[in-house]
């Protein structure tokens, strides 16, 4: 293949990729997808806490890592112009009280990091460490998320 053809192909591929990326990059969708992954990670942890599933330190650790990862990305997904549409449940308070929102994010991150550092090895050890993490989920939703029916 000649140089120009290759270059054209490459260019087309790049363009196609970035067009795709733009659609996928909608911060409203991206942040909802992140929260969905947070929910999936929470399910097995909740089942362990309820005693419906045997305690498993690795599963717990992997959920905590997911939350820690999301907590570092989530705050960057609320640019101006993303306040509404795409069924977002983000509350206006995120933009009017950014300081409080960042604090809620930091609380989540701190509680999650503390749980990781504690390396709980049994349900009895995990309960008092996981509870505070779950409370930070509710604390943030209470102020910065509105639930649509």
């Amino acid at each position: 293949m000649s140089g120009p053809t290759l270059r054209t192909l490459f260019l087309a591929a790049t363009l196609a990729f970035s067009a795709h990326a733009i659609a996928d990059d909608d911060p409203r969708i991206e942040r909802q997808d992140l929260m969905k992954s947070v929910r999936e990670a929470a399910k097995p942890v909740g089942q362990m806490m309820r005693g419906d599933m045997d305690f498993d330190a690795d599963t717990l650790m992997s959920s905590l890592e997911t939350w820690l990862d999301v907590s570092t990305k989530f705050g960057g997904l609320f640019p101006p112009g993303s306040e509404s549409g795409e069924e977002t449940e983000a509350a206006p308070a995120i933009w009017t009280d950014r300081e409080g929102f960042d604090k809620a994010l930091a609380e989540w991150q701190t509680a999650t990091q503390a749980a990781i550092d504690a390396k709980p090895a049994s349900l009895e050890e995990a309960r008092p460490i996981v509870g505070p993490v779950f409370n930070t989920c509710k604390g943030c939703h209470d102020n910065y998320r509105i639930e649509e029916e």
């Binding site: 999936e40 929470a42 399910k43 909740g46 509710k138 639930e147 029916e149």
Partner: protein, 301 residues
């Protein structure tokens, strides 16, 4: 022709006297109180089920009180309703609140909806539910509130339109809607009876989850089937086994939701249920199981 005039005057007088009598506040007598030694710890549990703090705790920086601030019952929250704005009063043990009230005064407020100076309360204070509580629980509750911080400050009066501004008229409303009997008559176990007492009485779940008729009375034949949201858009969900979400939840799912605030698919509790859930999380697990069992025993609607 004097006679018809006299008859007319007499008729009006009879109507007025009847209306006066029909609307007159009915207080309970002192000797109707049982001999009961107040239990402060039990009273604290009643306080959380009753959700007193959700309305009476003074807001902090315009937001719902959290943590220890829930125990500062200075009032001041505004309830925006179709009838006007209610301003929730101070019920802390300060002279501006209920400091100096007798146990009988308190029981009359909570269960007869009558103030110490003999005026009717508006049912925005959910005494139609509290009327179904055991008197002993109300006495324990007062003992607990008496241990809380005394908060100074009188709250401004409500801003209601006519005729809602006339308290006397509530007497008629009460004759129709104030009922100490339970909605669900037959319960086959002690656990279900406990659940009923918590849900229909102190927990006042029906105040949000049951639709109302045109006068604001709860529709007993649509008990807990869901209702328009009193504070904004959307609906308060149906929590009978016919409910869209709750229908698929087990007793243990419901109990866990009340304890943790997480639904079985790990979404979090929202809206005005957040405060209710935070309160219920302070109850022993057995009580949450009783509430869940009671909800599951309701007819699916």
């Amino acid at each position: 022709m004097r006679r018809p005039a006299i008859v007319a005057v007499a008729l009006v007088a009879v109507v007025l006297v009847t209306a006066w009598w029909l609307t007159s506040p009915q207080r309970m007598a002192a000797d109707s109180l049982p001999a009961h030694t107040p239990d402060v710890a039990a009273g604290e549990q009643v306080f959380w089920v009753g959700g007193c703090a959700s309305c009476h705790a003074s807001p902090v920086d315009g937001r719902r009180a959290k943590g220890e601030d829930k125990l500062r019952l200075g009032g001041g929250l505004e309830l925006d309703t179709p009838f006007g704005v209610f301003r929730v009063p101070n019920i802390s043990p300060h002279a501006d609140g209920i400091g100096g009230w007798s146990t009988l005064d308190f029981v009359n407020a909570m269960q007869a909806g009558v103030s110490p100076n003999g005026r009717h309360y508006y049912p925005s204070f959910p005494y139609t539910s509290y009327a179904k509580m055991r008197v002993e629980d109300v006495i324990d509750l007062k003992a607990f509130i008496d241990t809380l911080p005394a908060v100074e400050g009188l709250v401004a009066d409500h801003s209601l339109g006519f005729p809602w501004s006339v308290r006397r008229g509530i007497g008629l409303w009460k004759r129709r809607y104030l009922d100490t009997g339970f909605v669900m008559a037959d319960m086959d176990s002690e656990q279900l009876e406990r659940g009923r007492e918590l849900v229909e009485g102190a927990g006042h779940c029906g105040e949000c989850h049951t639709p109302r008729d045109g006068f604001g009375g709860l529709l007993a034949d649509q008990w807990l089937v869901g209702a328009p949201n009193p504070d904004g858009a959307g609906r308060v969900p149906n929590i009978t086994p016919g409910g869209k979400a709750v229908g698929d939840w087990s007793v243990s799912d419901i109990a866990y939701y009340l304890e943790s605030g997480f639904t079985p698919d790990f979404d979090t509790v929202g809206g005005s249920m957040v405060a209710v859930q935070e309160n219920l999380a302070k109850l022993p697990k057995s009580d949450l199981d009783s509430i869940a069992a009671y909800l599951k025993s309701l007819p699916a609607r």
